[in-house]
Structures are given as structure tokens and as C-alpha cells.
């Protein structure tokens, strides 16, 4: 049904301003991800290209065929596509387990083939094993921690096996490249693992931050709900009792009883009104806006009612105003605006907010005051006077011909500070 959907949801409003912070933080997270991904993918592609060039030059030196060079280049560059893809999987898959079997096999197929093909190129003992080692190193970040040691061990065995089977292994080690080999074995997997871990950490922190802000919203809702329950529950209980009493009294038709019933019903009515006032107050207290925003709203609302409105504020005012000051001045703006709205004849409103040496001033002028309108002076004006007096300020009103002026004055907060 359409109408039921139109009812208020009772959700506690969440300021749209809160989303600004979430935006910057999600942008930072995206940036961090690209940095992580590009560094892992970049390092692996760089190492694969270096290895491909070295193996190609080995083939050239051995006076091998051009097709052999082509095969090696294709295999190594193909491996780099797989390693870039595997790095991409880290975005959501850190520590989540092996990728789908087809993906795992696809990513490992070309490196494994490179491993086999380079067995017959003397001296390719280390470079031939690089594609497999790099791909396994990236997978280390994806697989569960418990699998990591066994995969590392399997990779080491494959490197050693390549060295044992490859005919050029002895000369390779003679040239003292063993140190470089050990560096590679340590450096590659640890770099990838640390990058992946940092990325994972950042996403975890972001999740925690999101959860804590959700929790704050939930807590606020709960507080609101319990306040609401206190107000409504209390009043409704008394209302139900009084109504029951009135019902009983009306059943007994004596003059006294009827008077008592009438009294009970009057009480029910005033209790219901009280509950409504308190509930509205509760909802209104949730909204806190700056004085500047409130003035802008006043202009919008008045202009919606076809009353041209001019608002002038001193720029430094809003910054200087404490919460209490802007709350009081806000009340004055609301009271004045409501009164102006009621006299349908205003054609011009001027609102000025300025400070002098001793005080903050809010002046609101309007025209279109008809004698009849003064029959209903704003009931809130007296309340406003009392609140300003309590804060050391004052409210002055002046009516001349058909114009009305309200002047709110508060002692300057800067003077108090000195």
C-alpha cells in the first residue's frame, strides 16, 4: 500500500557530512591497493623480463635457433601475464586459500613449461626456474599460512632439481652466482608476502573503522529509542489509566462522577499533548546546524513564501560563535522567521549579523506589519527574552509604522575570554 510506505521510518538521521570522511578514506584505500598491486606486478614482470633476456642471450651464445629465442620469450612473457593476474587476486584473496583449480593450473602452466624447456639450455639453471619461483611467491600471499612452508619447500626443490638436471649447472656455480641465487630465494617471496600482508592489514583496519562508525550509529539509535520509549511509555501508561477511570466514572451517572470524568479526560488530553511536545523536542535535539546554515535556511524558507530576504553576516562571526551562542542566536532567527511567515504581507526582510567591541548583534527587520497581526504576538518572544537574559544578553523589539525590528544582543565571547 502506498500510504504505509510513506510513513516515517523512525531512522535516526545520519549527517551527510559524515560521508565526506568516508570518501577520502575509501580513496586512500584504493590508492594503497594500486600501489601494492603495481609494485608486486611490476617487480615480477621486471624479473621475468630480465630472466627472458638472459636466457635469450644464452641461446644466442650457444648459437641456437631463432625459434628457440621466440619460444623462451613467449613462455616468459606469458608467465608475466599469469603473475600479474595472480597479484590482482591478492586484492580480495589475501590468505583466503588457493584460487580456483583452473586458475591455479592456468597461472602455473607456463612457468612450469618454461622450467622444462630451459632444462636443455646450458647455464639457464637459475633463470629457467625464475618464472615458477615468482608465481609460487605470489601464490604464497594467497594461500593459507599453514600451506606456505610446504609450497616454499616445493619451490626450492624445483630450483635445486633444475640445477641438478641442467647441463650448465657446474659452470653457473663456478662463476660465483650462488650468492645472487640465495638473495633471490630470500628476497622475492618475502617482498611479496610483506606487501600483501600490509595491504591486508589496511583493509582490516578499514573494516574495523567502518564497523565502529556503524556501531556508533547503532548506539545512537538505541539511545534515541530508549529515550522515546521512556517518554511515550510513561505518558501512555498514565493516559490508559486515566481513560479507564473516565470510562468507569461515566458509567455511574451521578453529577460528581461526571465532573470527575471530565477532569480525567482533560488530563488525558494534556498528557497526550505533553508527550507529543517532548517527542518533538527529542527529535529536534538531534539536529544541530551552524548559524550560517540556519540563516541560509531562513532565507530559503522566506523566499519560498515570496518574501525577498537579504542576509548579511560578518565572516568571522560564525567561527567566533560558540555552540551556546549560535544556539541562542539560532533560536532568535527561528522565532523571528516564524513570526514573519505568519504576517502574510511582508515584502522585505533584512537579517544582519555583526559584532561590535562588546557584543554580538542579530538584527532582523521586516515590513508588512498590519495592526491585526499584532493581536497575536509571538508567544515564543517572552521565552526568548528570558533565555537571552540568562545568557547576559537581551532582546529588543521595535515597531514603527508597518515595520518590525527584532534585535538580539549577546555579550561578545571574545571579550569574556580576555
Amino acid at each position: 500500500m502506498t500510504s504505509s510506505k510513506l510513513r516515517p521510518s523512525g531512522q535516526v538521521p545520519v549527517s551527510p557530512a559524515a560521508s565526506d570522511r568516508a570518501d577520502t578514506s575509501s580513496r586512500d584505500i584504493t590508492l594503497t591497493w594500486w600501489y601494492t598491486f603495481l609494485s608486486i606486478a611490476g617487480i615480477s614482470v621486471f624479473l621475468l623480463v630480465v630472466a627472458a633476456l638472459v636466457v635469450s642471450s644464452l641461446i644466442n651464445r650457444l648459437e641456437g635457433n631463432t625459434w628457440q629465442v621466440v619460444v623462451v620469450l613467449v613462455l616468459f612473457i606469458g608467465s608475466s601475464v599469469g603473475s600479474v593476474y595472480a597479484s590482482w587476486l591478492m586484492r580480495t584473496g589475501y590468505g583466503a586459500g588457493w584460487p580456483r583449480r583452473s586458475v591455479t593450473l592456468g597461472v602455473l602452466a607456463l612457468p612450469a613449461l618454461s622450467w622444462v624447456v630451459t632444462l636443455v639450455i646450458p647455464g639457464a639453471v637459475f633463470y629457467g626456474a625464475i618464472p615458477l619461483w615468482i608465481t609460487l611467491s605470489i601464490l604464497l600471499a594467497l594461500i593459507p599460512r599453514s600451506h606456505r612452508w610446504s609450497v616454499t619447500a616445493a619451490g626450492l626443490v624445483l630450483i635445486a632439481l633444475h640445477g641438478l638436471v641442467n647441463p650448465g649447472a657446474p659452470s653457473f656455480f663456478d662463476r660465483g652466482l650462488l650468492f645472487g641465487l640465495i638473495m633471490y630465494i630470500l628476497f622475492v617471496p618475502s617482498t611479496f608476502l610483506v606487501s600483501g600482508w600490509l595491504w591486508h592489514l589496511i583493509t582490516r583496519l578499514d573494516e574495523a573503522r567502518t564497523m565502529s562508525s556503524q556501531l556508533a550509529v547503532a548506539r545512537e539509535r538505541l539511545r534515541f529509542a530508549s529515550d522515546l520509549h521512556d517518554i511515550q511509555g510513561h505518558h501512555l501508561q498514565v493516559i490508559a489509566l486515566k481513560a479507564e477511570l473516565a470510562e468507569r466514572l461515566l458509567a455511574a451517572p451521578s453529577e460528581d462522577h461526571r465532573a470527575a470524568a471530565q477532569e480525567a479526560i482533560a488530563e488525558v488530553r494534556s498528557l497526550a499533548e505533553e508527550a507529543q511536545t517532548e517527542t518533538r523536542q527529542l527529535v529536534r535535539d538531534l539536529r544541530v546546524v551552524s548559524l550560517t546554515e540556519e540563516l541560509k535556511n531562513a532565507k530559503d524558507v522566506l523566499e519560498a513564501a515570496d518574501i525577498p530576504t537579504e542576509v548579511t553576516t560578518e565572516a568571522k562571526m560564525d567561527a567566533a560563535a560558540s555552540t551556546e551562542v549560535s544556539r541562542l542566536l539560532g533560536l532568535a532567527v527561528r522565532e523571528a522567521t516564524t513570526n514573519i511567515l505568519r504576517h502574510a504581507d511582508a515584502t522585505e526582510v533584512r537579517i544582519q549579523l555583526y559584532s561590535t567591541q562588546q557584543a554580538l548583534h542579530l538584527d532582523i527587520h521586516n515590513d508588512g506589519v498590519t495592526p491585526s497581526a499584532t493581536r497575536h504576538p509571538g508567544t515564543g518572544l517572552d521565552g526568548l527574552r528570558a533565555r537571552f537574559r540568562a545568557a547576559g544578553g537581551s532582546i529588543h523589539t521595535r515597531q514603527e509604522a508597518n515595520t518590525f525590528a527584532l534585535q538580539a544582543v549577546l555579550p561578545s565571547p571574545t571579550r569574556e575570554a580576555t
Binding site: A22, R269, E273, R280, V301
Partner: protein
Amino acid sequence: MIRVLIADDETMIRTAMETLLGMEEDIEILPGVADGRAAVRAAQELQPDVCILDLEMPELDGVEAAQEIARTVATKVIICTRHARPGVLRRALAEKVAGFVPKSTPVERLADVIREVMAGRRYVDPDIAATALTAAQCPLTDRELDVLRAGRDAPTVAQIADQLNLAQGTVRNYLSTAMQKLGVSTRTEASQYAWEQGWI
């Protein structure tokens, strides 16, 4: 006699209001209606002096009905609402609504408001005015608001696009910028939020 028409889909409240207002000597109650469309028809037919429209009604909401009524009938409109959403007052004033009162207004006072409105004055409840003045500023553009408004009734993007004569991609763009501005993750939430703020 001031001839008054009341439109409210909550029948209990409407009949109670009608009975209580009918007790005033200078007020005559016309047969009430339960939705915005019927309110417009009844106003055109009966030419009441004052229409009291509930804000949340099926078919047309109070402000929309007020707009239609103002276009065709010389009658004063008072909008009555249970829950004053911040931006609604602005919309109502722009439609030349003469009065805006919460449903909690005692009927005696409502009768005074009717008299004030008949005397050519406007009546805006101070609480409602306060709510409007402490509203969050709407960060959305007119187009984004159109899309969110259509999104309240249309279940799919295709239907919104159809309703507004826009391309689906354009609708998606408006929805996603609106969602981003409001800091919500679904378009339903965005529509709901915009509605709660009274922007649509």
C-alpha cells in the same frame, strides 16, 4: 460560515477532526475524502473556503494536492502533518499553502488557524518552522532529486528512465552521484533519506 474540506487517509483522525470542528459555530464541514486525488476532485466540485490536507496521503501527497487545488480553485489550503520533515515547509510555502500545522494541534486551535487563514494571514507552527530552519542543506541537484523521487515508486532503473524520459545510463549516473553525496550504499536508502529530509 466557513466551508471546510478535510482530506486524510486516517479515517479515525479525520472523523474526529470533522466532528470537533463541526461543533464550532462558524464552521461547516463538507464530506471528507481519503486521498490526494479525491481531495482535488472534491475541492473542484464543492469549492470549499478552506481545505485541510494531510501531508502523507496516497495518490498525491498534501503538497502535490495543494498545488493542483491552487491551480483551479480559489481556496485556502492548510497542510496538516504528523511528522514534519525539514524541507517540506519550503515546498509547501512555494505552493502558496496558507497554513502548516502538526496533527497534534488541538482542534480548538485549528479552528483559530482556519479563522486566521480566512482573514488572509498565514499560520506556520513554530515547531515546524524550527524543523525547517535547522534542516541540513540539500546537496542534490534537481535532476538527482527527480531520479530519487521516481525511484520511490519505480522498482527498476529501466522504469525510472522510462518515467523521466532519460537514458538508463544517465539515470544510473544521477543515482550514483546522489548516493555518493548522501553517503549511502543503495538507491533505496538514498530515496528514503531524501524523503526523510523532505527534499522530495
